[in-house]
Symmetry: C2
Subunit: 197 residues, 2 copies
């Protein structure tokens, strides 16, 4: 296989990159300066060499602990549970959360063969045990999809024996959106969760 065909095949393995996109990307790289190709290769090597899961929360990092777990100023009484590591960034960017995280690494999806053992649920339980009652609240920030919801319900059952408050992100109207474009289920949730002004 020629180097270009080989690159097209490797690029085509990326999610959302079909045969035509892989071809276009490969020829874009071939046509451009070789430094750009090497810079991307080095970025990939650096990730392969240095990035690993944080032993505490499962977020990716290149230090011993991730930047959240390693930050002594974070509130260790709250753990926010997310499905994927990139969702940590979404919550961090919101700038309103000062606690810790726990990355499940997916969500319950029996049809895809993802059961509780495939997720970092045992690790979450270990953290609660290890903290010896210091954790006061676990926020379930799984996605608002059917699988995310099912994962939250399952986790609630797992956490019931622990003396922690288990909360869920509020459902409602996204900020900045028009009611006329919001589906009925969301409006029903927003009504049920309405607050005093």
């Amino acid at each position: 296989m020629s180097p270009i065909e080989n690159l097209i095949r490797e690029l085509g393995k990326l999610p959302g990159v079909g045969a035509k996109t892989a071809l276009r990307l490969a020829y874009h790289l071939v046509k451009g300066p070789k430094e750009n190709v090497r810079r991307l290769a080095r970025a990939l090597d650096r990730v392969a060499d240095r990035v690993h899961a944080c032993p505490e929360c499962g977020n990716y990092c290149d230090a011993e602990l991730c930047s959240v777990c390693g930050d002594p100023s974070r509130d260790r009484k709250v753990i926010c549970v997310v499905e994927e590591a990139y969702e940590v960034g979404a919550i961090e960017r919101a700038g309103r959360y000062g606690g810790l995280f726990h990355v499940l690494g997916g969500r319950l999806s029996p049809l895809d063969g993802i059961g509780p053992d495939e997720l970092a649920i045992a690790g979450l339980v270990r953290r609660l045990d290890g903290a010896g009652g210091r954790v006061r609240e676990v926020i379930l920030a799984t996605n608002a999809s059917v699988e995310g919801e099912a994962t939250a319900v399952y986790l609630e059952g797992v956490l019931r024996p622990y003396p922690v408050r288990v909360t869920r992100l509020a459902r409602g109207i996204p900020v900045g959106s028009d009611l006329e474009y919001i589906d009925g289920t969301t409006i029903a949730e927003a009504l049920a969760g309405r607050r005093e002004m």
Copy 2:
């Protein structure tokens, strides 16, 4: 910058890859086996190390000449001019062309600063001069866009002093398509170019 942020930045430089896609691709790579990340890095390095433009036609290759120019069975009397190297593959896959190629490396687009000197037009003229009248036909296979058409018209002027037949790919109805979805200009071209059955 962390290795993941660095990878997101590099992936985001690819055409059609925005910030969200770069993030998704990077986390997909981080989450998967490290071998996959390294395999992609090696594929990139191999392209950077070994792929260069064929000195004859401008197509990309990793040998001294590209597979077409280096094939003694190809018909050296015909040169098919394409805009980009990946279009060579499209014509080769059709399986009906046995001549040589010439890759322009783009198309005339004055607004983007692409004039005749930015394209491999001098190289095409050199090939015709060097062949000493052996080339009988130049097929202009630039795209059927405004710029592709303008590039073909320009090339026709450049080639006029040479004793070669200059042809253009036929315009017409794409095989397998319904007339009702074809635009009027294409139907007009198909009518003008109609052939005896």
